[in-house]
Structure formats: structure tokens, C-alpha cells
Subunit: 71 residues, 6 copies
């Protein structure tokens, strides 16, 4: 209380997760009055081939820009 | 908006996930009026030893059928 | 298998959810070979005051555009 | 990227959620290098009758302390 | 550790949730050696209009059986 | 119905998961009247470096106790 479940691209280091966990916990303590002990955080690493936005997997190249007709 | 989180058995190819992501996005666009850019999809592969139905892990063999008495 | 959990803004009608559920199920059947019976979908309505992007709740007005200096 | 899903007891005000969303976003920007636009947050209010720890619903009173025998 | 998130149809009483929470906690203690204090459970009530199986919302009537041709 | 999603530290054996799945299913059958077939369970293994409580990753050593001043 709160429980914070974070999905993010794989590749963060242990040091980054450590700092992120501390910062998320401090955010909960400062803004909603949670006690530090009550803050649970679970990180889930997601591969780019498992996340899609606008129908495109993040492991795939972005669509080429539409060429403008020459003047 | 929407966020679509899909849990499914591991083993799908990148090509299947690519097609699935496109089809899910089109479903959201066509039926609830989402814009494509607003559709986020996260796939989670689940091993058969991590999914249970009716108390049985999918990695375990199904129960043998109850033999019918001979007539 | 698959389990599809959808978070979206509250306000969709039953008819929209019905059509969305059918479309998501068909997407799973067509692209990953799921059987219809195996597709479970759970919709979660999220109020705009419970979703934030870029640190801003969707219930809050977007920031005013930065005025460009006059030429 | 990241997606931050927060479950917490119901009762926080819009102002608290606004501040929490900002603080979570800043935490992601500062510690894992996320861009603000990429941070999505979904809050889920949980009633005390829907959360249990150690087998006890938070809507129920804590167990009475075991009385110590008199000396 | 473990965190148990349960989605089920709305309508269970507080008494049922209380008993369910106790039973889930005991299951974790007995089978994976969790300490009771470490077991967190969150219940989510889902309306029948928000859950679909085989493309059909549970708030909708099941399809009529296909009539067999008369002999 | 119900859907039970369990997050726990990695390291449980298949035998423990099998027993846990059976016990969770029996808990649902006994306390909320679910039919066994309707109980779906998904286990998610979480590494200790991906779970934090009170701002500390479980892969990190607990803080040293504060030394008491000598009398």
C-alpha cells in the first residue's frame, strides 16, 4: 500500500533499478503520505519484441517517412 | 488508452506477435474509436509450468479418462 | 490462453465492449491460432483522474502552448 | 515505457494523485532516463475490504494483542 | 512475496472474501513456505459486462443451441 | 473466474508450483463456490533484483542495525 508495478524495456542495470526504486518510494512517501515500509515495487523487464505501439513492435524499424513530391 | 496486456503461452514467433499486435490495434480502432497511436500492447510469455487451470499445470499431462465399465 | 486485459478510459457502451471483445477474440484466432473458447478478456474502466501521461492527469487541461515571440 | 501501475487504498484526493503522478514521472526521468512523454501511470483505488495481508482484510480490526500473564 | 491478485465476478460478500483471503494465505504458507505476514492479496471485482470468454460478454445470454434437424 | 495472478520470488520448484496451484484452486472452490474448471492461475517468477520494499531491492543486503551507544 501502495503497490507499484513497473513495466519497462529490458536493459536497465541493477544500479538504475536501485535508484528508481528509491525514487518511487520517496515519491509515495512525500505525496500520499505512505510509510516507506508499506511501499512495494515490482519491476518487469519487457523485450522490445513484446511491446507494441500503434500496431508496431518496438523491435521493428519505424516506418520510413512518406517522401514529399518534388516541387 | 487502451492499454492491452496479453498473457499467452510462450512459443509464438516474432511474426505471429507482429500480426497479433496489428490485429489487436485494428480491433481497438474499429470498435471503440481509438487512434492507432494511443494503443499500447504488452505481451507476456507464460511457460506451461506457470499456468494452471482446474488445479492442473499445463505442463502436466491431463488426467486419464475414467474408464467406462464394460457392458 | 491468451488472457487479454484491457485498460481504457471509462465511458464505452456495452455495445462497444461487445464489439471490441469479438474483434479481440477474432484477432487471437486469426493470428496466433487460438481457439475461441480459450480467449479470456477482462476490461478495466479507468477514470481520467486515474491515468497520467507525461506527469499530467488526463482529467487536467493540457498545458497552454508556449507563445511564439512576435516577429 | 515505463508503464507504472499503482494499486493503493481508496481515499486519495485528486490533488494527491496529481502530485504523485508528477513525482513518479520525475523519478523515472531522473533515474532511468525516460522521457516524460513516455511515462504512463494508472492508479487503481482498492477498498480496504479488497486487500488482505497475513490473511486479514484491512477492513477488519487487527487481532487483539496476546495478553501477558500477570507476574 | 507472494503477491496474489484475484479477479472475479462482483457479488461476493465480505464474509466470502474474508474466508477466501485466509484460505489463499494458508495455501501459500503450506505449499511454498511463505510466512503469513508476507502474503498480500488484492481482490478485483469484475462486472459480467467487463469479462468475455470466446468473444461473448458474460452479461449476454449464451448462444442458443444449434437445432438438430428432424429425422 | 476467478483469475489468480501470483507474483513470487523465483526459485520454486515445479512440485511446489503444482501443490500451490492445487491449494489455490481448492481455496476458491471451498470459499467462494467456484467450480474447479473456472479457476485460472498464472505464476510470475520475480528476481530479487526486481522487487523492492521500503525502497530497498531484495537483492541488496538489509541495512546494518543502528549501533546502540555503549553505556
Amino acid at each position: 500500500m501502495p503497490l507499484i508495478q513497473v513495466s519497462m524495456f529490458a536493459g536497465r542495470t541493477a544500479e538504475q533499478k536501485r535508484a528508481f526504486a528509491q525514487a518511487l518510494t520517496e515519491a509515495a512517501v512525500r505525496t500520499i503520505g505512505a510509510t516507506p515500509d508499506s511501499v512495494d515495487i515490482i519491476f518487469t523487464d519487457v523485450e522490445r519484441g513484446d511491446w507494441a505501439t500503434a500496431g508496431r513492435l518496438w523491435s521493428d524499424p519505424p516506418p520510413a517517412p512518406v517522401p514529399r513530391p518534388e516541387p
